[in-house]
Amino acid sequence: MKLSLKIFLGICIPSIIVAMIISIIVINRNHETNIEAERQNLIQNLKSIERNLNNVDESYGKQIIQLMSNNYSSKNIHIIYYYDTVEYNNSESINPNMIDYSNVQNSEYYVEIKNIDNNHFSIATSKLDNNRYVTVEKNINEVFDKRKELIYNCIYIIAISMIIIAIIAYIISKTLTRPLERMKKEMTKLSKGDYNINLKEGHDEFGRLAKNFNNMSKELEKRNNELVEYANSKQIFIDNLSHEMNTPLTSIQGYAELMQKANLNEEQKQKYLKYIQDEGKRIQDMYKKLLLLSYKKNTDFEKKDIEMNKVFAEIEDTFKERINNAGMELIINNQLSTIYGDETLIIMSISNLIKNAMNVSDKNTKIMVNAFNMNNKKYVQVVDQGPGISEENIKKITEPFYRVDKVRSRKNGGAGLGLSICKSIMEMHGGKLIIESEIGKGSIFTLEFN
């Protein structure tokens, strides 16, 4: 059953029951009061008749009654006089046989209400002395008619008020459930994937519910967007990966096929074999790097205090000559004694940054590596004087396989994974990779260790 119907009936049914009970009680009380009044009235009349009878001798009883009866008839009261037998009866409706004189006690007024042929009578009997009784009878249909009329009035009033109550109840039930209806509508929207929900907020229960609902839909939208973004980035990653794997594979398969099918001279054969080897290595290299990227999620690595002097000596060893041969200069300025972390991974991330710097730098430029302490944090910076990176590219540069200068990067054997590996390594160490750059001046890549 719908809530609005429940509210509607919840208002209407109790109201009608209460109205009916109250009416019945009031009508009955009123009726009883009226009957009691009739009774007392009848008893008063009976008393005055009694008094008149007592004043005269028994033998005049009948005459006295006869005299009085005219007077009482105008009051619609009829008298039955009994002295051993019915001596006088001017009642048209009451048969004296119906009166059970044995029930009547001395100095008592015996009053009955009787329904004779759908006429109501109040009958009061009094015992004067032995075997002498006076009975007065009055038709009290009026009282019963009054009750009937009252009942009809009540039904009429209840019916009208019920209509009014029903209208009010309908309005109340609709007003109360309107926010629910709207919520239901919005909920349907939500289930269809539309997160654009703005319910009216307020301070009552529905208003607060609406507020929570709005918050929930916003949160849901956020989560959903995150998921979509995550799925997209996964898809992009897979697309890129397949493309990156495809290129060396095409070379390997193509050159192998060419060697098998074409008539090549020794020089060509050697050249193509080298290509095949190179491309194979490229795949291996990429595979290793990818492994490293996925490695962080499920492996804990060995952290310890690493002596930075040793690290930089090793780096200088690896790069000094290569950089000098390329016509550039490597300047290392180390003020750190130790960094807490994994030695291999940290050397790898610094090396990646230096390799990147080499790839973008031209002859006669400097590559600076600064390691220092600041505000209780440790930093390793690689500064180049290359062409710089646009803001748009800085955002994407840590995505796997993203390259700013694709052709140049490939020529240098890059797979576009170096910076994403750096970023992962820094995340594993609870640190950050910070990239700053200015077009035309160069870039600064900073590893921040907490």
């Binding site: 397949s242 193509g254 050159y255």
Partner: protein
């Protein structure tokens, strides 16, 4: 000679395609990015363009239109292998779409089909006195007409279309005889012997040890 533009940002892949095409008798021009490729439209009269999609500067989809406007047939040669990409490429008006890695024979066959459709195929083949007309199917050696069965001619056609590339016996059976032919590879050997004899090509159709045959033409 028919001129084909190879656009790919990977030098080695360009070299690979070039090598294959040159062996089959095409002239090749290379471009490593979209902009360079567009310049080649003006500077060369091209018969066909092989375009990679993911290119620096301007991507393959962007430049394809210019080629099609210049009435140069386009074949996409790319690592992107999703149906959406293929449909997109073909809708742009490209004549074919080949996914990397590719087989040289397939590449050549598809190029051949596109060129033929554009009326740019070579009807005649001349080599050292051997003259073959593909539309009339007439073969002559030093002016003398040579009788040839239909099967011999289709084998000869496959060899010429893939000249300078070795073809395995199985591949020859498959392409010259058709998939539904249940023959022995010795059938191939027999037909090759007859071709050699009829055309005087004892040294031109070379046996590749334990593999198949190659038509060697400078």
């Amino acid at each position: 000679m028919r001129k084909i533009l190879i656009v790919d940002d990977e030098e080695r892949i360009r070299e690979l395609i070039k090598m294959n095409l040159e062996l089959a008798g095409y002239e090749c021009i290379e471009a490593e990015d979209g902009e360079e490729a567009l310049e080649k439209i003006k500077s060369h009269s091209l018969d066909l363009a092989l375009l990679d999609i993911m290119l620096p500067k301007k991507n393959g989809y962007e430049i394809a239109e210019d080629f099609i406007k210049a009435d140069i047939p386009v074949i996409f040669l790319t690592a992107k292998d999703s149906v959406i990409d293929k449909v997109k490429g073909l809708k742009l008006g490209a004549d074919d779409y080949i996914v990397k890695p590719f087989e040289s024979m397939e590449l050549l066959a598809r190029i051949e089909v596109v060129l033929r459709r554009k009326g740019k195929d070579i009807d005649e083949f001349n080599y050292n006195g051997v003259k073959i007309n593909f539309s009339t199917r007439a073969v002559s050696v030093n002016g003398n007409q040579i009788e040839m069965t239909a099967q011999e001619f289709s084998l000869l056609e496959v060899l010429i279309k893939n000249k300078n590339l070795a073809l395995s016996r199985e591949k020859l059976l498959e392409t010259a005889w058709g998939y539904d032919y249940y023959g022995d590879t010795r059938t191939v050997d027999m037909h090759i012997q007859r071709l050699r004899k009829k055309l005087n090509w004892e040294n031109v159709i070379v046996t590749v040890f334990k593999y198949g045959y190659r038509l060697e033409i400078e």
